[in-house]
């Protein structure tokens, strides 16, 4: 891993793990004081720095003479503007990041879910000075629609910031979100560069991701969807690198990201489950994979499974249940009625497919790239990411079909967010289809 990639991962993982550690410590009675939170966060930071520093190798360096935008596919240089392009792209990315910071920090937490779910919970936890026994009960009984069953990565991260600041400040706390955005762009750039071995396409794809309006907007409003998309994106990127290069560091980076998906949003369980499924599938070709691959994959999958079970057990103990979707809703009867929901689901997604304002042409580009590289999409290693994305789409479809919520309302509230969860993974998959060697 290169230095920049490490820095990005350190922030992303430290924030997630510190919020988890703080919650667990809070459940055991730890008070959230400046000192206790600082110690907890510092401890996690040391662990994460050590984790990402193991088995590091040098970053792929910029190769002169291979950076023309017009030659990015062919590797040839045709453009006289070649030297200026990387600088222009870097400047645009810098401006996008700066704008995200500005937008996040120019107003307090105010978006619907940001105040009613995440901001409210973090305020309660911070003002209580810890995780009180009646916390979930109060959320469930006194705050309608605050979703007591939602995982607490974002609220606990906000508690970390409040505690370290020593005051409740719902403007300053929003710095977490553009920091996630910036950190992930760095990680994404490094990952794409690892595949393309060229700086220009890496910058180009990083710019494209950063400029997707939905992605940039969610880096400023204080909800968990961008964070989930980032963790899932990291899970997918490093899963692919593990399959390609067989380095344990990549597998455990992917597993850690999957664990933090579970701790970010309920949908994270599905996304982490899909990463487990791909790990299992990759082991089925054991003749070509080594026994070490099997053992490592099994341990990576086991860590994620344990986390899912621990969280589900905790929710059951606390009597927390999701009213929008849970496994008890999957019945033959609801399948029959649910199939009638297919037309509105398809209609909603075609709106996003051609929704240039929110998504630019990313979905059209992804579809064209897929069809133009159909065979490549099912070559060894890339096929796992293709299958993973297909399962994701199917998984969200199943959730809509079986959910008890009125479908049009549900789609209008969640459709674009679900796409946000898979956007970084889809962008990386496009890079693979265009640049990965067969």
């Amino acid at each position: 891993m290169g230095f920049k990639e490490k820095l990005g991962l350190i922030f992303i993982f430290s924030t997630g793990l510190a919020s988890l550690a703080l919650f667990i410590a809070g459940m055991f009675g730890m008070e959230f004081t400046e000192i206790s939170v600082l110690l907890c966060t510092g401890f996690v930071l040391v662990l994460v720095v050590n984790f990402v520093s193991i088995h590091s190798s040098g970053d792929v360096r910029f190769k002169r003479g291979q950076v023309s935008m017009w030659g990015v596919v062919s590797g040839r240089n045709l453009s006289p503007f070649e030297p200026a392009l990387p600088a222009v792209l870097l400047l645009l990315i810098t401006l996008l990041v700066a704008y995200a910071f500005f937008r996040a920090l120019d107003k307090p937490i105010e978006a619907y879910d940001a105040v009613s779910i995440y901001g409210l919970k973090s305020k309660m936890l911070y003002l209580a000075g810890g995780v009180r026994n009646n916390f979930f009960n109060i959320i469930a009984t006194r705050f309608q629609g605050a979703h007591p069953d939602y995982p607490l990565l974002v609220p606990m991260s906000e508690v970390c910031v409040y505690s370290l600041l020593g005051r409740f400040d719902d403007i300053a706390v929003k710095i977490i979100f553009p920091l996630f955005y910036l950190s992930f762009l760095v990680v994404f750039y490094a990952s794409v560069k690892r595949i393309t071995e060229k700086a220009l396409p890496a910058l180009l794809f990083t710019f494209c991701l950063a400029s997707v309006k939905q992605f940039a907007d969610y880096a400023t409003i204080g909800v968990a969807d961008l964070t989930l998309g980032i963790y899932f994106g990291i899970g997918v990127i490093y899963l692919y690198l593990w399959l390609r290069e067989g380095r344990a560091l990549f597998l455990f980076t992917s597993s850690l990201a999957a664990i933090l998906c579970v701790w970010t949003k309920n949908e994270g369980v599905l996304l982490a489950g899909i990463i487990i499924a791909i790990l299992v599938m990759s082991c089925l070709r054991l003749r070509k994979r080594s026994v070490a691959h099997l053992l490592y994959s099994a341990s990576g999958a086991a860590i994620i499974i344990l986390t899912i079970f621990a969280w589900e057990f905790f929710k059951r103990e606390k009597g927390l249940k999701n009213e929008n979707f849970n496994l008890s809703m999957i019945t033959a009867k609801s399948l029959v009625t649910g199939l009638k929901k297919l037309p509105p689901i398809i209609y909603e997604y075609q709106k996003h497919f051609f929704g240039f304002k929110k998504w630019n042409i990313v979905w059209i580009a992804a579809a064209c790239t897929f069809f133009a590289n159909f065979r490549k999409a099912f070559t060894p290693n890339i096929k796992y990411i293709t299958i993973l994305l297909i399962i994701c789409a199917a998984g969200y479809g199943v959730m809509y079909i079986f959910s008890a919520v009125e479908i049009r309302f549900f789609l209008s509230k969640t459709g674009s967010r679900f796409l946000l969860h898979i956007l970084p993974a889809v962008m990386f998959w496009m890079v693979l289809l265009l640049y990965e060697r067969d």
């Binding site: 990015v72 596919v73 045709l78 307090p108 937490i109 105040v115 009613s116 901001g119 003002l127 309608q144």
Partner: protein, 135 residues
Amino acid sequence: MRILKKSFIFGLAVSVWFVLWVNFLVRDLFTKGQLAEHVEFLKASRHGKYEIVYGKRFFEFLTFVNESIPRGSDYNFRGVEPLSLEWRRGVYYLYPLMMSEDAEYLLVFEKPGYSMNGYKLFRKFDNGRFILKRK
């Protein structure tokens, strides 16, 4: 030839992407008034930022409520549509005061002359914004 064709399509896609991005960015900033909003927030004090977000009249009322009602009390809104964004922001802002169906205090917003059996006027901000307390 095939490589050139691919390069051309790729370049075309990137160009379309860039044009769309610039188009929507400019439209949001200038036509939809986002730039003016940014300037407004930039000029505003910390208190002013809340006034812009919550609405001046609503934020004034919430501040008034926060100063008027004792800690540990519960309240309910009148004149704020339940589960609306305004309602959500009010609930969030007023915590640790907590909402309750059977509340001790009723926060009446933009409902001049509102009254309710079993409640009397507790404090008044203006004709449309006041607090009722259970008798």
